[in-house]
Symmetry: C2
Subunit: 273 residues, 2 copies
Amino acid sequence: MDNRPIGFFDSGIGGLTSIPYIMRQLPAERIVFFGDTARTPYGSKSPQTIRQFTLQIGEFMAKKGVKMMVVACNTISATSLDELQAAYPDIPVIGVIAPTAKVVARDVPPESHIGILATKATIRSGAYVSKILEHDPSRQHIYSTACPAFVPLIEEGIIDNQIMDLTIHYYLDRFVEEHQIDTFVLGCTHYPLIADNLRRIYPDIRLISSSKEVATAVNIELSRRHMYAGPHNQEKDNVFYASDLSENFVNMIQRILGRDQDELNIRFKNLDL
Amino acid sequence: MDNRPIGFFDSGIGGLTSIPYIMRQLPAERIVFFGDTARTPYGSKSPQTIRQFTLQIGEFMAKKGVKMMVVACNTISATSLDELQAAYPDIPVIGVIAPTAKVVARDVPPESHIGILATKATIRSGAYVSKILEHDPSRQHIYSTACPAFVPLIEEGIIDNQIMDLTIHYYLDRFVEEHQIDTFVLGCTHYPLIADNLRRIYPDIRLISSSKEVATAVNIELSRRHMYAGPHNQEKDNVFYASDLSENFVNMIQRILGRDQDELNIRFKNLDL
């Protein structure tokens, strides 16, 4: 039994999309979330910059006494997971890409044409393709494409409208047609926020979400290490930190978690100083 | 005569749009530019965060020995100019808003319906309206609207296509119609990069650009203080720093300055460490 909190972090608000899955699967766990809203988006930044920001967040999480670090961000998972694990050898570090790739290799039919959608940094790393092939080297049809404008538009709350739809067509129509894609891997934790748009525009394409798979991976890892929290742990102790308490952050956290601001423990934390 | 460089800075790449005006008006001046591409965009962040980032940039500029700091960013000008001037009392600090507001008050016909387009932080500050009214208290028709998605789309290079046009319609059609706008003030140094889109969509609306007006203000201030550089100063000494050397930064600097990367002195500078 281990009542220390689990640390979740993201480059912005995207990682929040994994929180409802955790709350449902593991209601006794206490969560400390950190979103780097002051420096979001990470996906078009260089790997060196992303690594430096990641280690700052890791330090904050370690100070908060977390029992596990969950990198609920594909861009960080693709670029900085090894560095983070090396810096904190005693804390298990879970990324989103390995568990999602495993599910893809296991559950998506072998002849499927898989389209990985992610940020530039994630695509550039090749992490999804190599992890999927690790589990199933026989896969012939894995394609990738970067969609860099999705994250800033989502962070601005531009979701339920024609601009987002047009941006989806802009990035994906040709990609889907050219490669006869039948499965999208949402390789960015922001993308579940546009899952409805994707389903409407491409009703025949299967969606696999890294936000959901990371929650399952956390569950498995807690079980394997006998680190579940005891039943007296209270959900209301969850704390949501952001490096900038913008309107966007507060709006999105309410939207994703379906609660009012006064029911949530939202705090400001500046990592630069 | 003063051959020290002029320090220009911005939250990202927008401030670069003022550089061609400076090069044309003041070819002998040497420029040190800093774009905070690692933490862009600023416009939806809180004033406290913007102030902290601004003072870090100010410190970097002071270390570079600049003779003048030019805040080529409306968001910083609207939120942090006083703090910056207080921190560096011996260095003149020029923002974009005051000179642009002066030109608006002087050159735009009194009965015009003026629409200020800017980021959330700039609009929230009310700086444009109050500065214009300072110069011309009789103005009756000044309206403001925030366009938060413009900057991230521009930073992603999404300019010459339908997504940007649709985003412009989304933010501005109703605003223009409701207030019978005949003049746009581009109250963000990124917006000159979509001036062609705006001209095409609203051919009858006059555009006033803060990127151009700040160059004129620099010229006047150098003259007033007898701080012009001597004629032997060479343009090739200009240095362009960015906190993240993303593809976007390199592409946009080439686009804005019309030169190849190897003709430009582009350097990485991390302010966080």
